[in-house]
């Protein structure tokens, strides 16, 4: 019965006949009750792309408002809700779901397993995340309804205390923020536990930990990091709800409570969270760059060690978001050191990628275009990160548009670019069809240009003293033209993303047939059909090296003779 296919019934009759309505109903039902990791992965990704468009629209609205000083496109309260929701949505409803969606789809295939360790937990986790997101967006309808933008959260995605106390946020906006994220946080936790159990316990015969493909290795590291990253936020949000509804005083400065401790808890989550987001992007690059350079990844053990190192060190850097709150000079110095140290394994990864490309035969298909741009952009993002790590300079740059430029360079320039690369890379596997290369190149070049127009310029307006989170700005501060340029780049990016959405849909119906292994790649997912059957592999794979398909394609020169 259930072939693992997205396809609608081939004849949809517009006159309602029971059979096609029934077929549609059955199709929907299959997708709602599925526990198949591939379908859940696709559900995560589709969900995330939907919210990418929503949060992108929020960003476009923000940039329209800021294109001119004294603009009246969004009133202050609406603007504050938009930037809060843009950040919250992008991190929790786009970033995490899409990366765990990739993990869900690819990891069992790469390690030669039939499914995740706990398929039903997998489904439960997805629906928790989905519900959390819908609950968060219901806030737009609450309060005064859509007029005045309802009661959507308006306290910034970081929700600092005591602004979030009942006294300063009397409505339900903050409650939507806290409760929606608590719920989706449990979903994320479930998926993280599942991925850990899967990578450790469900590997096929012969796949020792040091033969696990780097994508799956990094998903393991990310999942482990998630366990101790999301949970502090959940704890802090529970404390916030206790303060708001049970009269608690965790962050009540009138009762002797501390606003700073919220910041500590939030950033103990917030900083490792950005590594939770970026490590899967590295994971995708670790697959795409070798295949399209036609070389094995340079220094696999070092890449594993660097990733684990990044995860550990990232737990010690959080207060570099708090250099201006008045910590002692000793504390500030410690966090400068830890932040600079985390740059070392990160930089090493760039060198490893460079060495992978070196001496290769690079094919610039769309996935590789995105990964190449990623390399430059992540380099720049890392360097502006080093600048921000210099605490005295941070005292100037903090909360300015320089910071926004820096983290969008990471989130968009590195992570979104890698996500696009990953989608172009694995879409053939999931659907059996190639995405259009022509549309892909249009998508890439437009997005690249728009990205740089916006975010390169943004660094400068921050240096000129423009702070963040402001719905308008003084007209005589020299920020006008730069803001207009930034906004213009946003429009270009929006067009590019729409082209991408078009590509996804068009190629599903009209794309070139992909076959098992369109990229001539080396990991196990390319050994089965496109799309894979529900059970993934006809026979359980047996492997002897990190690139099992390389061994099969090059029996005279197999990897296992070179891997120690």
């Amino acid at each position: 019965m259930s072939e693992n296919s997205l396809r609608l019934p081939s004849s949809i009759d517009l006159t309602s006949s029971p059979s096609s309505a029934e077929a549609l109903q059955q199709w929907l039902h299959e997708w709602v009750v599925t526990v198949d990791h591939k379908r859940l992965g696709i559900l995560y990704i589709v969900y995330a792309i939907f919210f990418l468009l929503v949060a992108g629209a929020e960003a476009v609205a923000i940039r329209i408002q800021l294109a001119f000083p004294g603009n009246h496109f969004l009133v202050a309260q609406a603007y504050n809700r938009f930037f809060t929701m843009h950040g919250t949505t992008m991190v929790f409803l786009v970033g995490i779901p899409i990366l765990f969606g990739f993990g869900n789809y690819v990891v069992p295939l790469q390690i030669g397993a039939r499914d995740m360790a706990y398929p039903r937990l997998n489904a439960f986790s997805f629906w928790l995340t989905a519900f959390g997101g819908l609950f968060l967006y219901y806030s737009f309808l609450g309060g005064g309804g859509l007029y005045g933008v309802g009661t959507a959260p308006d306290v910034g995605w970081w929700a600092y205390a005591p602004l979030t106390a009942k006294a300063f946020s009397p409505g339900h906006a903050t409650d939507y923020w806290a409760l929606a994220l608590i719920v989706s946080g449990f979903g994320t936790l479930g998926t993280a536990i599942n991925i850990i159990a899967t990578v450790i316990s469900m590997r096929c015969k012969g796949m020792t930990m040091m033969r696990v493909p780097l994508f799956s290795w990094l998903m393991l590291v990310v999942s482990g990091l998630t366990l101790i990253t999301i949970t502090p936020l959940t704890a802090a949000q529970i404390m916030l709800v206790i303060d708001r509804y049970l009269g608690g005083h965790f962050f009540d400065t009138q009762a002797g409570g501390s606003a700073v401790i919220w910041m500590h808890f939030f950033w103990i989550f917030g900083h490792p969270e950005v590594y939770v987001l970026v490590l899967p992007a590295f994971a995708i690059a670790n697959e795409v760059i070798p295949v399209f350079s036609r070389k094995a990844i340079f220094g696999y053990p070092a890449m594993v060690a660097a990733s684990v190192g990044i995860a550990f060190i990232s737990l010690s850097v959080w207060a570099h978001h708090m250099f201006t709150v008045g910590m002692t000079s000793v504390s500030n110095t410690f966090f400068v050191l830890s932040t600079m140290m985390v740059g070392i394994p990160t930089g090493i990864k760039i060198f490893n990628w460079l060495a992978t490309i070196w001496g290769g035969k690079i094919r610039f298909a769309t996935p590789m275009l995105f990964c190449t741009a990623f390399l430059y952009q992540f380099l720049i993002a890392g360097l502006t990160g080093i600048m921000l790590a210099v605490a005295p300079w941070n005292w100037q740059l903090h909360n300015s548009y320089f910071v926004i430029a820096h983290f969008h360079y990471v989130l968009v320039g590195a992570i979104v670019f890698c996500i696009f690369a990953g989608i172009y890379y694995w879409y053939p596997k999931a659907t059996g069809r190639m995405l259009s290369e022509k549309l892909g190149k249009w998508h890439f070049w437009l997005f690249l240009i728009g990205f740089h127009v916006t975010f390169d310029t943004m660094h400068f307006v921050g240096i000129l003293g423009m702070p963040r989170s402001i719905y308008t700005y003084e007209p005589n501060r020299g920020w006008n033209t730069l803001n207009l340029v930034v906004s213009f780049g946003g429009i270009i990016q929006a067009v590019a993303v729409l082209l991408f959405a078009l590509n996804l849909i068009w190629s599903y119906f009209r794309g070139q047939q992909a076959g098992n292994d369109p990229w001539d790649a080396w990991t196990l997912e390319w050994s089965t059909t496109s799309p894979p059957p529900a059970y993934n592999f006809v026979e359980e794979p047996i492997v002897r090296s990190r690139r099992p398909l390389w061994d099969l394609k090059h029996p005279e020169d197999p990897d296992w003779e070179y891997e120690g």
């Binding site: 202050a76 308006d154 306290v155 600092y160 602004l163 300063f168 002797g256 501390s258 606003a259 700073v260 036609r294 070389k295 094995a296 220094g299 070092a302 201006t324 709150v325 008045g326 002692t328 110095t333 400068v336 050191l337 600079m340 740059g343 070392i344 930089g347 090493i348 460079l354 060495a355 070196w358 001496g359 290769g360 035969k361 690079i362 094919r363 390399l375 430059y376 380099l379 502006t384 600048m387 210099v390 605490a391 005295p392 300079w393 005292w395 100037q396 909360n399 240096i463 000129l464 003293g465 702070p467 963040r468 989170s469 308008t472 003084e474 005589n476 501060r477 020299g478 920020w479 070179y562």
Partner: protein, 345 residues
């Protein structure tokens, strides 16, 4: 407060890097509050360090991006050459060691120079000659108190000019009456937050007179965007004139007694203080010398009789979401109270 780099080296670096970083020529206050146009000791030191860091990060970028570009061009797959795979290289311990050691050394250098400046700025001992100001952040305005001078003001900070020979820095104690705020005047110093129940301190040592602009840099609620800052660095003469004026109680003019009565009976005094009268409210700014300020509503509008009247009639028309309510005064009451307040120089 020793500079990190010697002056000649600093000015050389400045010239080298200025073209890329929007150096604003000339010294002194700018309309654009650029962090690259410092006029006060902490901002100078930060600027010097920033140029040093930029030169290092710039070099790293040049090297790595250069190598990347070289690879991307040289190692493109050529049409004729699609069939064979290139040599597979799995790693090299020596190379990997080298490119671990070099970043470690760079980090050590960056860390030590940074640490030195952190201690120099944060733990700088306060000299006897300094001026103490207490800054209290409110939603959405700034309260300034000069405890030793008996002055209370709002939104526009006056500080004395300092010099390297005879420093008169201003030390700011930062408090908050409600939520988190942040004091940021880029040309003078880095920002420091105002957090309730968590007093902070910062200092400026301005070496060029004039008006410096900034604004609140920590999101503090609906009208965070218009919580602007003006810092007037006055010459010694200007400053003593200003202080003397501020220390006086409010001007009393019989001609505007009607307006004063409106002020006292229409609940204005429950939020505002006018020293020398019965008004001692603390929720809103001190109005004793309202007309000595150039702007209203923490910079949202110019301060003249017309905008003052509009502000009192409907504050939200100048600064939406501010916490001052429209007092529903009649036209006559508005005229009278505006005339009264206009006398408070």
């Amino acid at each position: 407060m020793l500079p990190i780099l010697s002056v000649p080296l600093r000015s050389c670096l400045t010239r080298c890097l200025s073209f890329a970083f929007l150096w604003i020529e000339g010294r002194g206050p700018q309309a654009t509050p650029s962090i690259m146009a410092p006029t006060s000791t902490p901002a100078y030191e930060i600027h010097a360090l920033s140029l040093f860091v930029l030169s290092i990060t710039g070099s790293i970028f040049a090297v790595v991006a250069g190598l990347l570009t070289y690879c991307v061009i040289k190692y493109r797959a050529k049409q004729a050459d699609q069939l064979s795979e290139p040599a597979q290289i799995y790693g090299s311990t020596q190379i990997e060691l080298a490119w671990t050691v070099i970043p470690v050394l760079i980090v050590i250098v960056l860390f030590l120079t940074t640490a030195r400046l952190i201690f120099a700025i944060q733990d700088a001992p306060e000299p006897e000659s300094s001026l103490d100001v207490t800054v209290i952040g409110h939603q959405f305005w700034w309260e300034f108190r000069y405890p030793k001078l008996g002055i209370v003001s709002a939104n526009e900070l006056h500080v004395p000019l300092s010099s390297e020979q005879a420093p008169v820095p201003t030390y700011l104690t930062l408090l908050s009456a409600d939520v988190d705020h942040s004091f940021w005047v880029p040309q003078l110093a880095g920002k420091t937050d105002l957090i309730p129940n968590h007093p902070n301190a910062t200092w400026i040592n301005p070496l060029e007179p004039g008006l410096y602009v900034g604004q609140c840099a920590q999101f503090c609620g609906a009208q965070h965007a218009l919580m602007l800052l003006r810092v007037y660095v006055d010459t010694p003469d200007q400053f003593s004139v200003w202080v003397k004026n501020q220390q006086q109680p409010a001007v009393e003019q019989p001609a505007v007694a009607e307006g004063k009565r409106v002020f006292e009976t229409q609940a204005c005094m429950s939020c505002h203080t006018i020293r020398g009268t019965a008004a001692t409210g603390r929720f809103g700014p001190d109005l004793t010398h309202l007309m000595s300020r150039q702007t209203l509503a923490s910079g949202a509008a110019d301060n003249n009789a017309q905008t003052l009247r509009q502000w009192i009639q409907n504050p939200a028309s100048l600064k939406s979401a501010c916490l001052m309510p429209a007092m529903q005064l009649s036209d006559q009451q508005l005229d009278q109270v505006t005339d009264y307040l206009a006398t408070l120089r």
